[in-house]
Amino acid sequence: MSKTIVGGMDRRQLLKVLGLSAAAIGGASTLTACGGLKGSASGTSDVLKIGFVSPQTGPLASFASADNYVVKQVQQALAKGFTAGGSTRQIEIVVKDTQSNSTRATAVTKELITQDQVDIVVGSGTPDTTNPVADQCEASGVPNITTIAPWEAWFHGRSGVSGEGFKYTTLFFFGMQEFADCFTPMWKRMDVANQNVAALWPDDTDANAFRKGLTPLAEAQGFKMIDGGAFQNGASDYSSQIAKFKAENAELFTCTPIPPDFQTFWKQAAQQDYRPKLATVAKVMLFPSEAEALGKLSNNIATDIWWSPYHPYKSSLDGTTAQQLADGFAEETGNQWTQALGSVYSLFELAVEGFKQASDPKDRDDVADKLRNMNTVGMSGPLDFTKGPEPGIAVQHPVGGQWRKGTKFDWDITIVDNTPNPDVPVGGDLEATNA
């Protein structure tokens, strides 16, 4: 008996040591996140601080894979400083990880505001990041820009008042209208027996937005959505949905599931001989890793592309083109470009632009006001916050791209339909997903 107690003590001590070392490691990583950055004299007003929040670990980490590279590029581009409010300013970027958790996102945003005393907070990667970060900034009166979240989820999800919007928080991305503008032209180009479109929509915020938003927009174009039913994320079997799609002979397919569910569904569809002529997917197949995982089954799956190296855009900071940014990323990290590369880059462009336009970059109300009325061109192309569907939102227009065998990497995107944004050159013909 006494032996057990002694053992317990030992373990407790061990845990204590482990806990302390974990805290030490955690602290060290925070230090590295802040360290190595320019202008450590944070007290002086010549240094403008940008807080950056993204899901660097956890299930959403794919959205943040390009973050470090982008931060480095921005720091290099602004190494000599820039003029804002009548004097030369240096920037300092403080990076925080949400661990893919919205509660944690709130906590780190609070830290940025109260401890690091940043002048602006930017954030990226699904409503789980954008909404808590924006809410915290709005409450604290700190200017904020976020991206990669459908604007409806960001605006209505935070109970935005239509026509009024928010004072400190802004977003650039797109919504249901743009998804419809991107997908329906491709559907129309396919030679299909009927206008039925199979829809694999789970029961979550994103998919329900599609269920409510895309259905009427598609119907207006003459398409009939065949809803497979609001299943719960993480389902292991999709036989019932596949049976329904087959029975309705839906040769067009769209979906908004979580990535692992799409992998399961798409394999099962092949096993059970459901082979739609064209698959236009949202939320999944955004990252090359997903295409690699699906292998041959990825061929000619189409998705919405809001940024690619083929977009004719360049940095407003130093003129780096989209292609150069993607190439540089590949060279330095060995990884393939992702769409987040351009979006995250633009977050910093907008922040700097906000500082430049404000008469005093330290005046939060002034910077927030400039952001809300910004109309600028950069890595993500033209972003006009004055003409969005709601105040403080700039809308991007994604084009249609298909995954195909690549030359440099296993799988790469070919732009196949630029109806929503003719500035983006088409790289190839639209091909059937399953011939």
């Binding site: 389902a235 079997d237 036989s239 309705e248 992998q263 292998g295």
Partner: protein, 300 residues
């Protein structure tokens, strides 16, 4: 073809397809649950890192595939015993110590292990989605007719689940080690009086559990996909299969897996939004009205 396809749809065939798909899904759940059931049956230990261990097995296969020129079947054959050895080692070094301090401590240790595994995998392999490419097994199926197809992978998983559970059952009832394991499970102190080394026997049970969960992880990695954080989702179904079948009973686990698979399949057939809920409801109903499970007798 389109018009013909619609005509061929008939309801009995639809139900038959649901039954077949549900059975195969049940096979996967049972295979997943086997290891959990063994560990609980032998040492009353709930392993919360079970799902994460399955994910590690998936990554191990990928690493071995990438690092060697071995074909997939050979890699799988190497991975399973390798994983069993790891299981033996982890039991002797980690689990046996925590078991001494009581079941709660063991539970917490596996919970901690789960977190360590998830973050370790994320650090080592990034959050990218991975799958195990089994070639034609991934997409091939026996197409019996337009509505009914039996995928090679699903069938293989079901067969493996039955083979694993029958095999472990035979091991426990027929071999000397298996009988000693049952003796230790019943009363470790008394069994040790007649020369049974409980630490060693428990570690063997863990090794078997690790071997089966590796197999489950590989089959699931081919059927679906995996990433560092997906383990806990897989744990919940395995856990439900064990409880529905009856804690500590291997036959029960097989039955529990199949019941869960069929419930989900038929619920999905009626309304996809009830799929997972229906499984949970069956689980709750069993807990409420038949807490000993479907096949309660302790076979381990």
């Amino acid at each position: 073809m389109p018009a013909a396809a619609r005509k061929e749809t008939d309801y009995p065939m639809d139900l038959l397809n649901t039954l077949v798909q549900g059975l195969m899904l049940g096979g996967l759940y049972a295979l997943f649950a086997a290891g959990l059931s063994i560990m609980f049956g032998v040492m009353r230990m709930v392993n919360l890192a079970h799902g994460d261990l399955a994910v590690i097995a998936g990554y191990l296969v990928l690493v071995l595939l990438g690092g060697t020129m071995f074909p997939l079947w050979l890699v799988v054959l190497v991975t399973l015993p390798l994983f069993a050895v790891i299981g033996y080692g982890i039991h002797r070094s980690l689990f046996s110590r925590s078991l001494k301090a009581g079941p709660l401590s063991a539970l917490l240790v596996t919970f901690g292990l789960s977190i360590v595994i998830q973050n370790g995998l994320l650090e080592g392999f990034s959050a990218d989605t991975r799958t195990i490419d089994m070639g034609v097994l991934n997409t091939g199926a026996f197409h019996l007719n337009n509505q009914l197809s039996i995928s090679y992978l699903g069938l293989l998983t079901l067969i493996l689940a039955v083979v694993v559970i029958v095999g472990v059952q035979l091991f426990l009832s027929r071999t000397r080690t298996g009988k000693m394991m049952r003796a230790v499970s019943d009363d470790a102190d008394t069994a040790s009086l007649v020369g049974a080394n409980s630490k060693h026997l428990y570690a063997i049970a863990t090794a078997i559990a690790f071997g089966t969960v590796a197999l489950a992880g590989i089959m699931s990695g081919a059927r679906s996909s995996f990433d560092p954080s997906i383990g806990p989702t897989q744990l919940i179904f395995a856990f439900e299969a064990v409880v529905i079948g009856g804690l500590g009973s291997l036959w029960g686990t097989l039955a529990g897996g199949v019941v869960l698979g069929l419930t989900q399949a038929f619920a999905a057939h009626l309304d996809p939004s009830f799929t997972i809920l229906a499984g949970h409801l069956v689980f709750l109903a069993v807990l409420a009205f038949r807490p000993q499970g479907l096949i309660p007798q302790r076979t381990v």
